[in-house]
Symmetry: C2
Subunit: 197 residues, 2 copies
């Protein structure tokens, strides 16, 4: 019970392969039309080619399994180098813009779409996956204000929300053009107005 929820132990390649197959099967099922409702321990076990007990040994519930699968599907946000707010925001923006696999987006929308029916799942997703990422962006913005690179009157939540929102795909198969992440940070830092008022 002291294991992390992903439960990967070093030096156990067979078990790691099983974990990977389980998480992958979870995402395959979650991406389908049936969404969260179509994910069950039985279905995941069948698809991953493992016994149900192998799943239950690591994940006590389907909610825990889905949250870990979604977490594993997202590349971790880069550790900001701290060189400048602009460079840090650009690194983060590039990482966000790169998160556009079709399966991953379908999973994301399906979790959002069924949040009313699976509030615990959504709460865990938000706490374990969304919030830590938002915290990284907030820290970069706060440091930028502290160093004077960003406006002293900056609303951190608004700026964070604008960066993340600008880089969240809103359409299936949406592809951001080359240089989009950099252009977003540029527009955000400099503003789209022609002059300061």
């Amino acid at each position: 019970m002291s294991e992390t929820t992903t439960g990967r132990a070093p030096g156990r390649p067979r078990s790691e392969r099983a974990d990977k197959a389980i998480l992958d099967a979870t995402l395959d099922l979650l991406a389908r039309e049936s969404g969260v409702a179509g994910v069950s321990m039985e279905a995941v076990a069948a698809r991953a080619g493992v016994g149900k007990s192998t799943i239950y040994r690591r994940w006590p519930s389907k909610e825990a399994l889905i949250v870990d699968a979604l977490g594993a599907a997202k590349a971790p946000l880069p550790e900001p180098s701290g060189a400048s707010a602009r460079e840090d925001l650009t690194e983060i923006a590039r990482a966000l813009a790169a998160e556009r696999g079709r399966r991953h987006l379908q999973c994301f929308w399906n979790v959002l779409g069924s949040a009313g029916r699976y509030p615990e799942l959504y709460a865990r997703y938000k706490k374990d996956i969304i919030e830590p990422r938002r915290a990284i962006v907030r820290d970069v913005l706060r440091r930028g204000v502290a160093t004077g690179e960003l406006r002293a009157d900056l609303d951190i939540e608004v700026a964070m929300s604008m960066l993340v929102g600008s880089l969240t795909p809103r359409r299936p198969r949406e592809t951001f053009p080359e240089g989009y992440a950099e252009a977003v940070v540029d527009a955000l830092v400099k503003g789209i107005g022609s002059a300061r008022d």
Copy 2:
């Protein structure tokens, strides 16, 4: 066949009531876990208390019905007054920020989540609902560049995407704080950096 797809005729209140009940029933069904798959002419007719033929008289397919229902659920974007890019963007931002009914968001996510399975539905939704709204934002931005209020080197698509993205709810029951729409436009126009480079 020369009717518009919503097919509302003036002076026919009973038929208008039926239309409203049909569109409302469509959204109720679409917002459910089953999403697009759970919307059928039969289910809509039963829920709206009308005969299936009443629906087919106006909507030839479930895709057409869903797109009209989604269109009716969104308040039209305000016609920009043209006073200034900043004022126009603020009006639009307020309208976007106001679109946060829970049912509407569930419908939106369910349509996105099932775009792979219902590509025609998604294409119509994009063409009839998303694109006209984006066009309004682009026009405002282009006028702002033409008048010199916005930067001459502005990337219209990037700016449009940032405005819309910043105001698209990314979480169920997300509530934007009072003044959020105005703060987004302010940050977008002036930038979050402390000085122009």
